[in-house]
């Protein structure tokens, strides 16, 4: 029976249990369906735990994301939830930032500080994003419970709103219903690109909070636009990894894609039953959980003090 569900993956150089891979894809897809983020930074470590070499796990995950984000973008496009203008500017910024990040890593590797920077960036970013989202959602939920007070006085714009309104080259983003300087998405895209390159992830879990809190885009447009941007990033990564490192196992990617698609269907239904703030607080808890796991790994002595090259 076990022979029937095992499949040998020539690029990963190992045999895997198909049901386990489908199940892993399903579990991560479930979270993705609920939150609209959460693939790369969960899938890759879990694949490594299942015996897939780190470099193959990361590259094949990118290949899987191409398929997942294609169907996601298509679905959101039908619903009118993709802001192509915003997505393209973020993508340009992401590509510029990605190249800057790769060079930063090269310099730091030469100096011997790269691994320290990667670990600390991971923990700080996850802690900051998760912590901020958690507290913000908690406050919003408390406010919702409190008796509604009619606020008749016009709201004063915040210092941040004044600052972004004063930037040059203001542009209308009709789909998102906002007006912003072109520099905002470009600079933030560069920032996410730098961080994604340093951390070795797609950057979705950093991009989504940035779109929500700094670009102030509506949540439904955020998910569709994030998927659109991620699709292009992962096409680029898949082809680069396949040609330069030979680390893309597309059979593994296909299995993960089938699993995650089914998981996402269930997740979407679960997500619809939850409110926006509940979704945010659950996502924040997930990000904080990953952050604490990483912090634990940094503080506790590993079982083996040697590791193959390629992983963090």
């Amino acid at each position: 029976m076990t022979d029937l569900i095992n499949l040998y993956l020539p690029i990963a150089g190992n045999s895997v249990n198909c049901l386990a891979i489908l199940g892993l894809g399903g579990a991560v897809g479930l979270l993705s369906g609920i939150f609209g983020v959460g693939g790369g930074f969960l899938m890759t470590p879990l694949l490594i735990m299942m015996g897939i070499p780190p470099t193959v796990a990361a590259a094949s995950d990118s290949n899987q994301i191409v398929g997942a984000s294609t169907s996601g973008t298509l679905a959101h496009f039908r619903l009118g939830n993709v802001d192509f203008k915003m997505g393209l500017i973020l993508l340009v910024g992401g590509i510029i930032g990605g190249n800057i990040g790769v060079h930063i890593i090269k310099v730091l590797r030469a100096l011997g500080n790269a691994d320290f920077l990667i670990s600390i960036t991971y923990v700080l970013m996850l802690g900051f994003v998760g912590g901020y989202m958690f507290l913000e959602s908690l406050q919003a939920m408390r406010k919702a419970k409190a008796p509604v007070q009619e606020d008749t006085a016009p709201k004063k714009p915040s210092a941040y709103a004044k600052m972004i309104a004063s930037l040059p080259l203001q542009m209308e983003f009709t789909r998102s219903g906002i007006r912003l300087s072109v520099f905002m998405p470009l600079v933030l895209g560069i920032l996410v690109g730098v961080l994604a390159a340093i951390m070795g992830v797609g950057g979705g879990f950093i991009m989504v909070p940035i779109m929500v809190y700094l670009l102030r885009m509506p949540m439904h447009v955020v998910v569709g636009t994030s998927l659109f941007q991620i699709l292009f990033t992962c096409v680029n990564v898949t082809i680069m990894q396949a040609t330069q490192n030979h680390t893309v196992d597309f059979v593994l990617a296909l299995l993960l894609l089938i699993g995650s698609s089914i998981g996402a269907q269930v997740g979407t239904k679960v997500g619809k039953k939850l409110g926006g703030e509940q979704l945010k607080i659950l996502l924040a808890s997930l990000v904080l959980f990953v952050m604490f796991k990483m912090l634990y790994d940094l503080l506790v002595r590993p079982d083996v003090l040697l590791a193959y090259m390629g992983g963090h």
Binding site: T2, D3, N6, L7, Y8, L9, P10, I11, G13, S15, S32, G33, G39, G40, N63, Q64, I65, V66, G67, A68, T70, S71, G72, L74, A75, G112, D115, S119, G202, G204, L227, V235, T238, I239, A242, H246, V248, F250, L254, L256, L257, G259, S260, S261, G263, A264, Q265, G267, T268, D297, L298, L299, R301, V304, L305, L306, A307, Y308, M309, H312
Partner: protein
């Protein structure tokens, strides 16, 4: 020429064993033979590790050690250590030489009963032969022990005792047989099977055989494409994922998978 370069290390390994330059030292007599089944490990789509059977005969009254060994090669590893006395992270890399990719061992009696003569053939003896690059900073890590743990974790090194079954004695020889489990993470290539007979604290005979692990069918085709036509492979992987995503999107008519 390329094929010649590829098989050179194997020929050298067999030659060194014949000359007694590898663990085993001086061998008094060589009345030992082995045969391995199958002769080739076919790594097809359903490959999930393999069982190989080794049969042979050894001088009567001797203890037998059987090893499945990969070609020794260079290995670059990351070292983990404490930074600022608090955080465990990668602190450097180290280059090791003479590291067998795989080493699976079985014996007819426990190593402690075989004694000193058998020690070089154990896993502990194998990692002692590993050479650490000159002037390398080991960061206080017991490299041999940690390498052993790393390889055992990946199931590439294993040692079991008393799995070699000895038969009745006949004409001064004893038949023996054992089964070794080869892991699914085995890389394609040529591997050495060696059997050693130890008696009265000395290695008195040895025999070697070889076995080839090779990809066949779909994995062979895919691997060829990924390594020889990598751009085509990358585009194919992307297009298949895109089409699959579109089909999934059309079938389900809603969100796709994880991203």
């Amino acid at each position: 020429m390329k094929k010649y370069i590829q098989i050179m290390p194997h020929l050298l390994l067999v030659a060194l064993l014949c000359l007694g330059l590898l663990p085993g030292h001086a061998i008094a007599e060589s009345s030992m033979n082995i045969a391995t089944t199958p002769a080739t490990i076919n790594m097809g789509a359903r490959y999930n590790g393999a069982k190989i059977e080794i049969k042979g005969s050894a001088p009567a009254g001797s203890a037998v050690i059987v090893r499945f060994v990969g070609e020794p090669s260079e290995l670059h590893l990351r070292q983990k250590g404490k930074v600022f006395g608090l955080l465990w992270m990668n602190v450097g890399t180290i280059k090791l030489e003479n590291v067998p990719k795989v080493c699976i061992i079985d014996t007819s009696v426990p190593f402690e009963k075989i004694g000193e003569a058998g020690a070089p053939y154990s896993l502990a003896g194998t990692v002692k032969e590993v050479e650490i690059e000159k002037d390398a900073d080991t960061h206080g890590i017991d490299i041999a022990n940690e390498l052993l743990l790393l390889k055992k974790h990946g199931k590439l090194y294993s040692e079991s005792e008393q799995g070699v079954i000895m038969g009745p004695e006949k004409d001064g020889l004893t038949d023996f047989s054992t089964q070794l489990n080869v892991p699914s993470s085995l890389a394609p290539g040529k591997y050495l099977i060696e059997a050693v007979a130890v008696k009265d604290g000395k290695v008195i005979a040895d025999a070697t055989d070889s076995i080839t692990a090779e990809m066949v069918g779909f994995p062979a085709w895919l691997s060829h494409l990924a390594y020889q036509k990598s751009l085509l492979y990358g585009i194919m992987a992307t297009v298949i994922a895109l089409i699959s995503g579109l089909v999934i999107g059309l079938v389900f008519g809603s969100k796709g998978g994880a991203h």
